[in-house]
C-alpha cells in the first residue's frame, strides 16, 4: 500500500513546475498568448521537449520517456497549475494513447519520435462525437470539434471503418482541412471546429469501439489531472490571500466562515486528487472496466471540482472578479474540464446505473 510519489516523480513534478514558472508564466506567457491560436511558442515547446514532457508517454524505443499514466498525470497537474495553453495534452497524451489503442505504434513510429522530440505536434478527434467517414479512395470527411488543431501539424482522425474504427493521420496544412477557432470561456484552452472535406489521410491502425472508449478514458483521466492542478494552485493562492488580507483588524482567514470556505475547497481538491491517483493507476494496471469506472467518476466529480473556482472568487471578493486577477483563468480551466465530453450530470447517472446493475446482479463493484 504505497501511494507516495517516487523520488523520480517528485523530480519530474519539480522540473516541469520550475520550467513553466520561469519560461511560461501566467503574465509573461499565458496572458500574452490569449489571441494566439497555437497557444505556445517554439521556445517553450522545445523546452518542454528537452525536459521529456512531450514524449512522456511515447515508448522509449520511439525516442520518448516511456513513462506511465501516473507520471503523465503528474506532468498534467503542473500544466494545469501553470495554466499552460499549449497543445501538450493533445500531442503528448491523446496522440500517443490513440496510436497505442489502435495498435499503430510501428506504423506511426516516425510520428511518435517526432512527437517526443517536439518536432511534430499532433491532436486527436473526434473523441466525443460521431467518427469521420471514409470515401472509397481513402479520403476522410467529417466535421468535429477538436483541441489544439491550429498548433497541430497532424490530426489523428477517428473514422468509421468496416464495422469498427480506424485512425487516420491527416496533415492539417492540406487545403481540404479547415480549422476555425471556437470562442469559449477558457482563454487557456484552444478549441477548434474542424472540417475535413475528402482530405487524404494515412491509415495508422484499426480497432473496435472499445479502443475509442479506452482512449477517451485515458484523455479524461489526464485532463482531470490538469484540472486538479489548476484547483490545487487556486487553493494555495486563496489560502495565502486569506492569511494576508486583513479587514476589521484581522486576517480574513481568521473568520470562521472564510476558513470553512477554504477547507471546503481543500476537501474537494483532496477528494479529486484521490480520484486522479486511483484512475491513473487503473489506467496503467487495472483492467478495462476499472479504468473506465475510474474515468467516469472523475467526470462525475468535475462539477464539484469546478466549484472550487467559484468558492475561490468568493474568498477573494471583488478583486477576484477582475480580469487582472488570475482567479478567473483557473475557474475557466476547471469549467472547461467540467463540460469536456459532457457535463457531470450524465456521468453521475451513468455511475449510479452501473452500480445498481452490479448490485442487482449480485456482483458488487470492488474497485
Amino acid at each position: 500500500m504505497n501511494l507516495e510519489p517516487t523520488d523520480e516523480q517528485r523530480a519530474l513534478r519539480a522540473t516541469v513546475r520550475q520550467f513553466l514558472a520561469e519560461h511560461a508564466g501566467v503574465d509573461a506567457h499565458v496572458r500574452q498568448l490569449i489571441d494566439d491560436e497555437s497557444g505556445t511558442t517554439p521556445r517553450v515547446w522545445d523546452g518542454l521537449a528537452d525536459l521529456g514532457a512531450t514524449g512522456v508517454l511515447v515508448p522509449a524505443e520511439h525516442g520518448g520517456a516511456g513513462m506511465t499514466m501516473v507520471d503523465a498525470a503528474i506532468v498534467a497537474e503542473e500544466m494545469g497549475a501553470g495554466l499552460y495553453p499549449g497543445p501538450w495534452l493533445s500531442s503528448a497524451v491523446a496522440a500517443p494513447r490513440a496510436i497505442a489503442r489502435f495498435g499503430a505504434d510501428s506504423e506511426a513510429a516516425e510520428l511518435l519520435s517526432g512527437i517526443a522530440a517536439g518536432d511534430r505536434v499532433a491532436t486527436v478527434g473526434p473523441l466525443y462525437s460521431v467518427p469521420a467517414t471514409l470515401s472509397g479512395d481513402g479520403r476522410v470527411s467529417g466535421e468535429f470539434v477538436v483541441d489544439d488543431a491550429r498548433a497541430a501539424d497532424v490530426i489523428l482522425t477517428v473514422t468509421q471503418h468496416e464495422g469498427g474504427l480506424a485512425l487516420y493521420a491527416v496533415e492539417t496544412a492540406l487545403p481540404d482541412v479547415t480549422r476555425g477557432r471556437l470562442p469559449g470561456i477558457d482563454q487557456t484552452h484552444r478549441c477548434f471546429q474542424v472540417t475535413l472535406d475528402r482530405a487524404p489521410g494515412r491509415l495508422l491502425g484499426t480497432a473496435g469501439a472499445q479502443a475509442l472508449s479506452a482512449l477517451v478514458d485515458d484523455v479524461l483521466i489526464v485532463a482531470a489531472a490538469d484540472a486538479l492542478g489548476a484547483a490545487q494552485r487556486l487553493v494555495d493562492m486563496t489560502v495565502d490571500y486569506a492569511k494576508t488580507r486583513t479587514q476589521f483588524g484581522q486576517a480574513i482567514g481568521s473568520f470562521q466562515s472564510v476558513a470553512h470556505l477554504c477547507v471546503d475547497m481543500f476537501e474537494k481538491v483532496e477528494l479529486a486528487r484521490s480520484g486522479v491517483i486511483h484512475a491513473a493507476w487503473a489506467a496503467d494496471e487495472g483492467d478495462g472496466d476499472h479504468r473506465h469506472l475510474a474515468a467516469l467518476r472523475l467526470k462525475a466529480f468535475s462539477g464539484q471540482l469546478a466549484s472550487v473556482g467559484d468558492t475561490a472568487i468568493q474568498v477573494f471578493g471583488g478583486v477576484g472578479y477582475t480580469w487582472e486577477h488570475d482567479a478567473h483563468l483557473y475557474l475557466k480551466r476547471l469549467l472547461s474540464f467540467s463540460t469536456q465530453g459532457g457535463n457531470a450530470d450524465r456521468y453521475l447517472e451513468l455511475i449510479g446505473s452501473e452500480f445498481a446493475a452490479s448490485v442487482t446482479a449480485g456482483r458488487p463493484q470492488t474497485t
Binding site: 500500500m1 492569511k243 470562521q256 462525475a300 455511475i351
Partner: protein
C-alpha cells in the same frame, strides 16, 4: 503506485474470514441494533465479545501480552474492512478498546494493565468514558466536574453526559478538574473509577429515535482512591489525547461501512418505485446514487493515502483530518436518499437511519470543529 496489501495482510484476511464464517451468526448481527436498551441483545453481544477475545480476534492492534495480536497497520485495515463487510457488531467496549486502553497502556501500572485490559477485551467489564458535560461539549477542556484531594482519596462532584453505555458500565475513565486556577488544559486529571462507588447515579439518555445508548452520570461526594489516578496529576489532557500509534487504521471502517450500507440500500431500492417507474430507473435516484458511489470511492482512496503516508513517511494528518467530515456527510446523504425514496414506513431500518445519521457530524467532534482544526493545522490559517 501500489494499491495492493502485503502477503501477510492477505493471509490475515483469509484467516479472519474463515473464523468469521465459522463463528458469526445472524442473531449476533441482529443484536447490534439496540444494545443499550435490550438486555437480551446485550448479553448475546457480551458472549460474542468473550468468544472474539478468547480466539484472539478482539483488539488485533493490541500487544499479545494484553490479548491482542500485534497486528500491523495493513492488518488492522484488513480487520476493519472485513469485520465491517461481514456486519460484525462493534465491540461493546469500543470506546474502551479504542480510547481508554491506549491510555492505560501508556500510563497505567503493569498491575492495572493485566487486571483491566483482558477483562475489557472480553466485555467482562463494561467501560465508559466520563468526558463531556452539559456545559462542556466542543469546548471539552472547560470541563468542571471537580476532584478535591482528601488524604489518600479524592472527592468528586459533578456531572457527565453522552457517556456511552454509562448505565451498563462497571468502570469509568473519568476526567475531572483538579486545579481550577491553572489554564483549563493544564488543570485536568484522569481517574479509573469503579461505577459501583457510592454517590454515583446514572440516568439513560433517550435519543431521538428511542435508542438508549448514552447516559448522564452524576457524581455526589464520590470518594475514589488517589492511586486510581491514571497518568500524572493535572496532566489528564495528555492522557485524553494518547492514542496508540498503531490504532490509526480505524479510518478504514469509515468507507467500508458506507460501501456496505450503499449496497444494501440499492438492493432495497430494487423493488421500490418513484412515480410511475422503478426507482433504479429514475434518473434522479440514479444521479444521487452516482454521487454517493463517487464520493465513497474517493473517500476510500483518501483513507488509503493516509495509511500509505503512515507506512511510508508521508503526511498522514491532512488526509485523515478530512476523512471524518466527508464520511459524516456521505452517511447523511445516504440516509436522506434512503428515506426520500423508501419513505417513513417502508423500512424501520432506513427511517431510523435518517434520524441517527444526524450524529455522524456531531459525535466524536463536530464537523465545524473539525473544519477549524483543518483550517488551522493543515492550511495554516490564523486563529481568532
Amino acid at each position: 503506485m501500489d494499491f495492493t496489501y502485503s502477503p501477510e495482510a492477505e493471509q490475515f484476511r483469509t484467516e479472519l474470514r474463515s473464523w468469521l464464517a465459522a463463528n458469526l451468526t445472524e442473531d449476533i448481527v441482529a443484536a447490534t441494533r439496540h444494545p443499550g436498551a435490550d438486555d437480551q441483545a446485550f448479553e448475546l453481544l457480551r458472549k460474542w465479545n468473550a468468544r472474539l477475545a478468547d480466539d484472539g480476534w478482539a483488539a488485533v492492534a493490541w500487544p499479545t501480552a494484553y490479548g491482542g495480536r500485534g497486528a500491523s497497520v495493513l492488518e488492522q485495515l484488513v480487520y476493519a474492512e472485513e469485520t465491517t463487510r461481514a456486519r460484525v457488531p462493534n465491540p461493546l467496549n469500543i470506546i474502551g478498546i479504542n480510547n481508554i486502553a491506549p491510555a492505560i497502556m501508556q500510563y497505567g501500572s503493569e498491575r492495572q494493565k493485566l487486571d483491566l485490559l483482558p477483562r475489557m477485551l472480553r466485555a467482562d467489564d463494561i467501560w465508559c468514558q466520563g468526558m463531556s458535560e452539559p456545559e462542556s461539549g466542543s469546548d471539552l477542556a472547560s470541563l468542571r466536574t471537580r476532584a478535591i484531594q482528601d488524604g489518600d482519596e479524592y472527592v468528586v462532584n459533578g456531572q457527565k453526559i453522552w457517556t456511552s453505555l454509562g448505565h451498563r458500565a462497571d468502570w469509568c475513565q473519568l476526567y475531572v478538574r483538579t486545579d481550577p486556577d491553572a489554564p483549563k488544559h493544564q488543570g485536568i486529571s484522569c481517574f479509573l473509577v469503579d461505577m459501583k462507588s457510592p454517590g454515583i447515579s446514572v440516568r439513560p439518555l433517550v435519543a431521538l429515535n428511542g435508542d438508549m445508548d448514552f447516559a448522564e452520570v452524576f457524581f455526589t461526594d464520590v470518594r475514589i482512591p488517589a492511586d486510581a489516578m491514571l497518568g500524572p496529576l493535572n496532566e489528564g489532557w495528555k492522557v485524553a489525547t494518547a492514542t496508540l500509534s498503531y490504532e490509526r487504521a480505524a479510518a478504514a471502517r469509515l468507507y467500508s461501512e458506507l460501501q456496505v450500507d450503499l449496497e444494501q440500500l440499492v438492493g432495497d431500492l430494487a423493488t421500490a418505485r418513484v412515480g410511475d417507474r422503478p426507482a433504479l430507473q429514475d434518473p434522479i435516484t440514479l444521479h444521487r446514487i452516482g454521487e454517493l458511489v463517487t464520493r465513497i470511492k474517493f473517500l476510500e482512496v483518501l483513507c488509503l493515502r493516509s495509511i500509505s503516508a503512515m507506512l511510508h513517511g508521508g503526511d498522514a494528518f491532512s488526509t485523515a483530518s478530512l476523512a471524518k467530515s466527508v464520511w459524516g456527510e456521505c452517511g447523511q446523504k445516504l440516509a436522506a436518499l434512503a428515506y426520500d425514496v423508501l419513505g417513513p414506513t417502508a423500512s424501520a431500518r432506513w427511517a431510523d437511519y435518517r434520524l441517527t445519521a444526524r450524529a455522524l457530524t456531531i459525535a466524536g467532534g463536530t464537523t465545524q470543529i473539525n473544519k477549524n482544526i483543518t483550517a488551522q493545522r493543515v492550511l495554516g490559517l490564523p486563529r481568532r
